[in-house]
Amino acid sequence: MKILLSYLGNLKEYIIFSALIVISLLLIFQNDNVQIRFVRVIAVNVIGTIQDGFSIIPNIFELERENKSLRETNIDLSKELSMLKEAKLENLRLNQMLEFKQRTNYRVATGKIIGKTLIQTRNNITINIGENDSVKIGMPVITDRGLVGKIVATSGNYSIAQILLNKDLKVSAKDQRSRVDGIIAWDGEGKIRMKNVSKSADVKVGDILMTSEYSNSFPAGIPIGYVTTDNTLDNLFKNIEVECFVNFETVEEVFVLKFLSEDERRELEKKFNEKSK
């Protein structure tokens, strides 16, 4: 301690001198005149040059922190990008559906598919609209591309629809070009076929098939798919394979057509069928 005090005592004059210099400089920099502004500019340049020189020395801790921050930003941006892509695709789909909704003559209810089975022999979809949206059993389910299926069960806010990939759903169909009739049904093994078409009927690969006016479940003219294979099954009927317009793997939103076949027609057909039995 003594040594330190003695050392400081020897430096006393320099300490006082330095203090006076510092006070003088502080007083000088309190001024706001041209000279001081110029000196400030020079000081900023000098400090900037020095900092610039030091910046080439990598700071490992700073780099690590920067790296972490960049990674976090990257994750955030990736999430945002993903959300934007999703929003863009949703926007496209909804735009197409809106166009269809404006085009169609029927009243429709728009629903989102919230459940789907595609690997069974009786496949269904669950939709987030139900009786509260005036959805009833038997109403057709479609998209802007074509027929999806029909409602088979409803609750207040949900409904279940059989889709074309369901063995129990059979749709009366017509060839758009040649007006040949048939029944569209899924074979349960991966193919949708048009049945009951005689060997001599005019059906060609590429023909578009749509619902016919003979159907008591669907209004006429809803596109179903197009013919991919046309060959003879046996002496009487053709084997027609159909590719659906609707891609059941990717479909997300659907319309429920507020259409039910007329009661009088249904009653008549029911009576007639009973009599025939």
Partner: protein, 163 residues
């Protein structure tokens, strides 16, 4: 008591500097002698670095306040000049320094330091080059001040001879 004498000397010189000296300016750049630095060198040589620098700071600050501009600049220049003069404080040689023409040399050294600092700062932001500042202001002021520092030397020598 001695310090009061130094303070009185400096105050007297400051008053003369701010009142009468402007009447004896020379050259187109209105160069005047710096009487305060003469007194400051006297005090510095007599009392050392600490007294020199404090006297320099105080006298410089008073001059700054009187000039109403650039507060602190003269204080800075005079502090450094006073501290420099303190380097020549030496018990055996002090009287010799003060009573001979060595004093003129010491005044010149301290004056050139004082003027260089002062004018270099003062002319920042103008188009004047350092060489121009040196030739137009620093050196003439130093020479003019050195000439005036001859006067106390003459008085001191006469007094010595009179004894």
């Amino acid at each position: 008591m001695e310090y009061l004498k130094y303070a009185g000397i400096l105050l007297g010189l400051i008053i003369i500097q701010k009142t009468a000296v402007s009447f004896i300016d020379v050259t187109e750049f209105k160069i005047t002698p710096d009487l305060v630095i003469i007194g400051l060198v006297y005090i510095g040589v007599k009392r050392g670095k600490i007294t020199g620098s404090i006297a320099g700071f105080a006298s410089g600050l008073i001059l700054d306040i009187f000039s109403f501009s650039f507060i602190g600049l003269m204080a800075l220049a005079k502090t450094i000049a006073g501290f420099t003069s303190g380097f020549f404080n030496n018990e055996q040689k002090t009287e010799r320094y003060l009573n001979s023409y060595i004093f003129v040399l010491l005044v010149s050294i301290c004056s050139i330091i004082n003027n260089t600092i002062y004018y270099t700062f003062y002319f920042q932001g103008t188009n004047l080059l350092f060489l121009d500042i040196l030739i137009r202001y620093v050196l003439p002021t130093t020479v003019y001040t050195a000439l005036f520092s001859v006067i106390p030397v003459i008085f001191a020598r006469r007094r010595r001879f009179a004894r």
